[in-house]
């Protein structure tokens, strides 16, 4: 986990937002540190988008406080918008403008913009610079929206479902760009319901459900903490005493499933098990190792899968 010594860039405390009778955010608190990629994960309707809309000043919270780079998004909008780049879920652009024209217009809004062409290249839009917006595929429109969020070289980038509708290659390109952007010092907060995206990109994730943060940790830490860690399944070359393994700090439980052995634990579990067995002249055959995933964590915490509403 990133230590508290880092400077906090976004502080959300006790955010509450309701639309009529519908509670979007019940009580949301978290801190995003400088230079980290922070993920807000949760199913549709969990309150993720409302949270980032309050952070960017688009919505006024009903309760709680938000500070972004020391600014109040409702009061200091003029100071906030030059340094915060935003990609909204449902923004479109005029059909009959070309990609390069939209990029050129948006770069003129900022004092120190990125090079529009390089940005387009990095996102695989280089060939599309001269194309009308309406001829772009859904994924290309999405990538343009990401480009426009980053074109001002913002201190903070807020990305709401940035890879929805992208093909695998587009997703990889986008992830790479976000990592590079972070390496240049931008703090990123991203909303997602792709666990894979969060595992790959995020330094820390907050799982949000029914308007509350239900867990907050590194993706790995979260998965491990919630699901009891990872497991390794193998076929021993000869029977052995369970005590060999249960004494290891990495090992939690040892269980026999017919001829096979299932070991659950954490840390460098696979290495520890194989080395210990080898030292005792036992070979582990047909090794299958599984790490717990964020998805497992989500299911465990909410009793639901993140994408479907089906009960587990």
């Amino acid at each position: 986990m990133i230590k508290h010594s880092s400077t906090s860039v976004i502080t959300v405390s006790h955010l509450k937002k309701t639309y009529g009778n519908v509670i979007a955010d019940e009580d949301v608190s978290f801190v995003v540190n400088e230079g980290e990629i922070f993920g807000l994960l949760g199913p549709n309707g969990a309150g993720k988008t409302t949270t980032v809309e309050c952070i960017t000043g688009l919505r006024r919270p009903d309760g709680g406080t938000i500070s972004v780079l020391g600014l109040d998004p409702q009061v200091d909008r003029d100071a906030l918008h030059p340094v915060v780049g935003v990609q909204l879920q449902s923004s479109t652009f005029p059909d009959r403008l070309k990609v390069c024209e939209i990029l050129d217009m948006y770069q003129s809004f900022y004092l120190n913009p990125a090079n529009p062409e390089e940005l387009a290249q990095a996102l695989g839009l280089g060939e599309k610079l001269g194309s009308y917006y309406k001829t772009l595929s859904g994924g290309q429109k999405q990538r343009l929206a990401v480009a426009l969020a980053l074109i001002g070289q913002p201190k903070v980038a807020v990305l709401d479902e940035m890879t929805t509708g992208l093909d695998p290659q587009g997703r990889l390109d986008t992830w790479e760009l976000i990592e590079k952007t972070r390496d240049r010092g931008t703090t990123v907060i991203l909303v997602s319901h792709y666990m894979e995206e969060a595992e790959r990109l995020c330094d820390r994730v907050a799982l949000i459900d029914h308007g509350r943060i239900i867990a907050l940790d590194t993706p790995y830490g979260l998965a491990e903490k919630v699901t009891g860690g990872k497991q390794v399944l193998f076929l021993p070359s000869q029977p052995f005493n369970d005590g060999l393994l249960t004494t290891l700090p990495e090992v939690k439980t040892v269980e026999h499933q017919g001829k096979r052995v299932k070991v659950v634990g954490s840390g460098q579990l696979v290495n520890a098990v194989i080395l210990t067995l080898a030292k005792n002249g036992i070979e582990a055959l047909d090794i299958q190792s599984e790490g717990a995933t964020l998805e497992d964590a989500f299911v465990k915490l909410t009793g639901r899968h993140i994408h479907e509403n089906k009960e587990v």
Binding site: G57, A79, H81, S90, S108
Partner: protein
């Protein structure tokens, strides 16, 4: 922490304007209907000899001469109450204004760019119509240019205020289209497109004088003869501009 106001680069407005002009050119509905329709009407009216006959019933004017101010107003109406609100509502519906509201550029700049572009088309239209009428169809040129400009300027201001008011309160493009069309024909009626103002019964003429188009036609007509627009028409057009302009600013929804 810091209250330093970071200025938005001024070039941004130029870029907005540039892209709005590109759109006006690529989707030439404004150019087509705003300039094309009144020009076509001018050609038709100007080519029928009977309409160019001076008639004492019409107060010593020809029907053609009387219809000319209305043709100018067709241009203004088309762009101000039919097209401008639709563009702005579409920008709101599709999230373009919302997206702008999280950039350093306020969405009002896009609205301003839209007004500038549409006004520019109107000005071109008025010049084209006047030039065509005078050179090809024997229209008497306006006797006093300043009064002609004043009358047209007041017309534009009041009708753009009407259009902005529609854009402010109407949520959907389809509804705006309906309201625009309805207002277009209602205003044209009071402007005298079907019954020229000199032939209107007193009651109708009185109502006409209180509508933006009636006042506008009266003011332009007088300017064509070299007369100063009547105080009533100036008052009516100014009042529409101020009241509706205020309402538009007060009630405009950016989302």
């Amino acid at each position: 922490m810091n209250s330093t106001r970071i200025k938005t680069p001024r070039a941004a407005f130029g870029k907005l304007l540039l892209n709005e002009s590109r759109l006006a050119w690529r989707i030439p509905i404004g150019l087509g209907t705003g300039l094309g329709l009144p020009l076509l009407l001018l050609v038709i009216f100007g080519s029928i000899p009977a309409l160019s006959q001076v008639s004492s019933d019409l107060g010593g004017f020809s029907y053609f001469a009387l219809s000319f101010p209305i043709l100018l107003d067709v241009t203004v109406l088309t762009l101000s109450i039919m097209l401008l609100p639709r563009s702005l509502i579409k920008y709101r519906e599709t999230g373009i204004l919302r997206r702008l509201s999280v950039t350093p550029v306020p969405p009002s700049w896009l609205l301003a760019a839209q007004i500038v572009i549409n006004l520019a088309i109107v000005v071109v239209g008025i010049i084209l119509l006047t030039a065509a009428g005078v050179t090809a169809f024997g229209l008497e040129p306006p006797k006093n240019i300043l009064e002609f400009l004043l009358a047209n300027g007041l017309t534009m201001a009041s009708l753009f205020a009407v259009g902005l008011c529609i854009a402010a309160v109407v949520r959907s493009d389809a509804v705006a289209q309906g309201i625009g069309a309805l207002l277009f024909f209602a205003l044209m009626f009071f402007g005298g497109i079907w019954i020229p103002r000199p032939l209107m019964p007193a009651v109708l003429l009185n109502i006409s004088n209180w509508t933006p188009l009636g006042s506008s036609v009266d003011a332009i007509q007088r300017a064509m003869q070299g007369l100063f627009p009547s105080p009533q028409s100036i008052l009516v057009l100014t009042a529409y501009t101020l009241v509706l302009g205020y309402l538009a600013v007060r009630y405009f929804k950016w989302e």
